[in-house]
Symmetry: D2
Subunit: 303 residues, 4 copies
Amino acid sequence: MSFDEYRWFIEQSTPSTAHMFGLKRYLCDKQTPFQRVEIFDHDLYGRLLVLDGKIQSAAYDEYVYHEALVQPAMLLHERPGSVFVAGGGEGATLREIFRHPSVEKAVMVDIDREVVALCREHLGEWHRGSFDDPRLELVISDARRHLEENEERFDVIVVDIPEPLEESPALKLFTRQFYSLLQERLAPGGIIVLQAGDFGTIFFEAHSAIFNTVRQVLPYVYSYHAFVPSFNTEWGYIIAARDFDPGAVERGLIDRRIAERKLKLRFYDEETHRYMFALPKDIRNQRDGVTTIIDDDELLTTF
Amino acid sequence: MSFDEYRWFIEQSTPSTAHMFGLKRYLCDKQTPFQRVEIFDHDLYGRLLVLDGKIQSAAYDEYVYHEALVQPAMLLHERPGSVFVAGGGEGATLREIFRHPSVEKAVMVDIDREVVALCREHLGEWHRGSFDDPRLELVISDARRHLEENEERFDVIVVDIPEPLEESPALKLFTRQFYSLLQERLAPGGIIVLQAGDFGTIFFEAHSAIFNTVRQVLPYVYSYHAFVPSFNTEWGYIIAARDFDPGAVERGLIDRRIAERKLKLRFYDEETHRYMFALPKDIRNQRDGVTTIIDDDELLTTF
Amino acid sequence: MSFDEYRWFIEQSTPSTAHMFGLKRYLCDKQTPFQRVEIFDHDLYGRLLVLDGKIQSAAYDEYVYHEALVQPAMLLHERPGSVFVAGGGEGATLREIFRHPSVEKAVMVDIDREVVALCREHLGEWHRGSFDDPRLELVISDARRHLEENEERFDVIVVDIPEPLEESPALKLFTRQFYSLLQERLAPGGIIVLQAGDFGTIFFEAHSAIFNTVRQVLPYVYSYHAFVPSFNTEWGYIIAARDFDPGAVERGLIDRRIAERKLKLRFYDEETHRYMFALPKDIRNQRDGVTTIIDDDELLTTF
Amino acid sequence: MSFDEYRWFIEQSTPSTAHMFGLKRYLCDKQTPFQRVEIFDHDLYGRLLVLDGKIQSAAYDEYVYHEALVQPAMLLHERPGSVFVAGGGEGATLREIFRHPSVEKAVMVDIDREVVALCREHLGEWHRGSFDDPRLELVISDARRHLEENEERFDVIVVDIPEPLEESPALKLFTRQFYSLLQERLAPGGIIVLQAGDFGTIFFEAHSAIFNTVRQVLPYVYSYHAFVPSFNTEWGYIIAARDFDPGAVERGLIDRRIAERKLKLRFYDEETHRYMFALPKDIRNQRDGVTTIIDDDELLTTF
C-alpha cells in the first residue's frame, strides 16, 4: 500500500515529537462510557488496540508486552494457584496466566464491559479463548472497589490498566492506598506486578513516582523493562513482594521452571530476565532522585 | 512553541511507520560530495545531526550512543594505547576515547572533510575540543584505503559510520574483506567495536548479517544494544576480539577499571554492561537464524 | 478536539504537497467490488465521502459542487423534462435536479450498489430523500452499457463520476466514443454537463484533455469552474450542446428563470454564472495548448 | 525526490486542516526584529517565502498574486505617474508597477530592512532588478508613520503587507484611521488597492471586516479575488477610489490599455478581470452580513 492509501494515527508524545502509524482499515471506533475504543489494522504491526488515543497493544509484539508483564511474577512464584488481574481487557494477560498448570483460578476485574466485548470479538489472536477458560471469574466492575469488598487473597496480582488520563477511574489504581490494599490481598509468598509506564528517560517521571510509592508499602520492589517496537520505546514494569526478595534469584531457576511447566515462550527466559532486570546507570540515577509519593489526595498527574 | 511554528523532519522507517521531529530552527542544510548534511535544533532533543535523512545523534542522548559504542571496548582492554576510528565525524567518539589516560594516539579517518568541519563548528557539545587534542591524527580519506595502505596496528578499533545507502562508499566498510583487514590491523589483545544498526526485531536483518559476517573472521563476537530515545529504538553494536573472549568478564572488573581510570560516565557502568550484553530470546532466535555473509561481491542492500 | 484526538486523512496531491484532514470519527470503511468507501466526520467540513482515497464531497460545501454541476445546465435549458445521471451516488445531484418543477423523470445509473446504499444511509443531508422521489428510475449498472442498450433521449445529461484510477470502469466514461454516445442520447435542444477535474494550473491536464475530446464531438463546448473549499482548489466542469450555444446567454435570463422556477439556491445565480464562466488568461492558454484526444484505445492516464 | 528526503512545512489553517509542503532545501531561517523569515525550495512551487509561518509567495505562481494585486488598479488609472507601496518586500509588486511606462516614481515603505535584503538576495526571479530601478524611492520605516509625516499624494496606493499577527506593527495598517489617511494621500482620480486575506468561505471574516471598514471611508469599494494554487485557496483583494467608480468599466477598456502600454501579462486581461470581479452568491451574502469596523481602538484579531 502507498502513503495515500493509509489513514494516519499520529501519536504525539510531546509538542515536538510524534509517531505516525499508517492504518490500513478501520474495524471499530466507539465511545464507551469510559473511553474511546479504536481497533484498526496496520501493515506492519497487524491489529492495533487504541484506548483514548494511546496504543495498548499490537498483534505484532503483544507477546513481548504480555510475557514481560506476566511471566516473571508467575515464574518467581513457586506454585501460583490463584491470580488476580485488574484490567487486562485484551485477554492476553489471562492467556499468559493460564499457561501455568498450577493455576486453579483467575479473577479478572475490568471496568468497561464494552472494551472486553470488543476485544473478545476482534482480538482472537490475543486472548485465544481465554475468556472461555473455566478457571476464569470475569467481573465487570472497578478493580479497587472489588478488592475492597472481597477479602480473597491471591498468589499473584497483575495490574494491567491503561495510563490514567484526567478524571479517569484508573487514577485511583495508582496510589499508595491502592498498593496497600493489594498488599493485604496477597497470599503468603505472593507477588504483585504492575505495568508501569514509559521507561525512556524522557517520560520517566510516572514510572519513578509509581516505584517510589510502591516502595512505601512493600519491602521488596524492582523496576524492570522491555523494548516494545510498536511503542517506539522501552516499557516499564514494577514487581514487588512482601514476604521474600524476588530479586534474589538463583542462577538457572527461571529456565528450570520454564522447562518444568513446559512453557513455550517467545520472549522470556533466563537471559531475557537478566536483560529486563538490569538498568542503565542514567535510568537508575533519574529514578532514585524522585521523591513523589502518589496518594488518593495527590494523584498522578501525567504519565 | 506550537505545531505551526515547527518544521517537520519525518523519518519514515517503513511505508506505514514514521517518526516526526518538530524542528525549531535550521542551522545548516548542505550537500557535500558524499552526503546531505543537516543540522537543526529540536525542542526536546536539542541539536540534531542528520546525514542523508538519517539521524546520527542528538545533543539530548548522544552520551548514550557514544558511551555504548566506545566504553565497553576501551574498558575491556587492559591498557588501550592506540585507537583507530573509522568515521566518527561528530568528534564524540574521540571524546570518549580521550577520557582514557593510557591513550597515546588516536587515528581518525573520515571521508567527508565538510562533515568534519560542520560538526566542529556546530557540535561543540559533542566533541568538546577533541579535534584539538594533540593525540589526534585526523585523516580525510576512505578508512578502508587508509588501512590497506598503512600497516600500523591498534589496541582498539572503532567503526562509527552511517548506514550505507545505495552507492555509498560506506558499503565497502560492511564486508567480510573489510573485517579481515581490521583483524590484521589489531595489535595483540586488541578489540574491535562496530555500530551495527537497528536492534529492534523489525529492522534486525542488517545487524544479523553484520554479526554473521564478523563471525566468519574473528573467533569471539558479541552483539549488544542500548536504547537511544531520539532513535525511538534500541541500537545495536558488535564487539569482537581475536586473542581473548571479551564476553568472559569477571564480576567487578568494569566498575573497578572505571574507578581506576577516574572516568565520569553518565550511561555506562557494570550494571549497564549486563543490560547491554543480555539479549531477549526473540532477538537471539532471529539473529541466529540468519546465514547471510556480506562480501565485497555481495554487498549489504538494506540497513 | 486536539491534534492527538484526530486521525488524519492525508490527501497527497503530488510527492511534495498534501492536504491533511483531521477526522473526528469513522462511520464506514468498506471495500466494495468497485472501490474503497470511507465516510467520516470532520470538525470543519462535517461528514466526508471518500472513494478510493479521493474526497468526493463534504457536508460543508457540497452545495457548491452540486449546484455548480447541475444548475447551469438545468437553467440554460428552457424546460428540462427528462434527465440522465451517470454516477451521482451521493444523491445530491438528484436533489438539485428535482428542484426543477418541469422534471418528469430522472434516470440515474451507478455501477456500485453498495456506494448508493451507504450514501443513502449516511448522507441524508446530501440526498434529502431524493432516492424516494417517484420521478427517479435508479439503475445499478455501467452507465455506458446502459446508454448503449437503451435509445431513450434526455434533455439534460449529467456525468458525475469520480476520477478514473487505473483499471477503473470509469475510464470508459472519459472517451471520445462515450461523448459521441451522449450526443446521440441528447433530445433536441439538450445539454450535457460533466464534472471535469481539478481546475488549478498544476493538475490541469485532465481537464484540458476532456475539453479537447468533447470538442471533437459537439460544436458548443465551455469550461467553467468553482472554488470548493474542502477540495482546496478550483474544480472544473464542462458544459456542451449540439443544437444551440449555451455560452450566448442574454443578460438577466438566469436570475429570471431562477425566480420563475422558485429555486432557493445558496451558490448559483447570474453573477456566480459570470464568475464560473470567465477564465483566467493562464488557464485559457494552458488549456488551448493541449491537443490530447481521449479515445477508447488511448485512455486518460492521470487525472 | 521521495517523501523521506523532504522536510515538511505544515501550514495548519484550523485545528483539523493543514497543508503540507515538502521542502527540498533550506536557504534561510532568520529571526529579524519584526518576524521570522524562511526561504526554501519546493519541488513544485519552486522558491517559497514564508514570514512568521505564513506563505507570502511562491516562484510558481507569484505572478498570479502580484498581477492580481497591481494590474487592475494600474490599468483602471488613466495614466499612473506616482505609486505608493506599503510593504511589498519581495519586490514583485514593484516589478508590476514599473512595467507601466507612465510611472515616474514609486515610493516603497517596508518596516523590515532584513526582509528586503534577504528578498533582494534570494528572490531575483521576483523583483528582477526592480530595487535598482531609478524611479524607486525605498524607505525603511513604518508605512503609516511615513504617510503621516509626508503629505505627498499618489495616483495609485498598493498595500501589500502580511496578515497581522498579535502585536504586529501591521495591525495599525488595517484600521479605519489608516484607510482615512490613505484616502487623504490619494491624488485626484487615484486608486487604492489592498491585499485582503483569504477569500474562501471558511476564513472570510477578515476580508469582510476590511471591506466593511474601507466602505466607511471611501465611496467606491470592490472585493475581488484570484485562485493562487500555492495558497490552496482563493485570495481576496479590495480596490477603492474616491473620485470615480472603478467598477464601471466599459467593455474593451482593459484589453485596449494592456495593448497600448505593451504589457506582457500571464494572468491578467479583460476576461480575467471579469472572473476576479464577479463574486459567488454565498460569498456576497457572507460578506454583506458583516458589520465589523476595524478601528485603532478595536483591532482586527484574526485573519
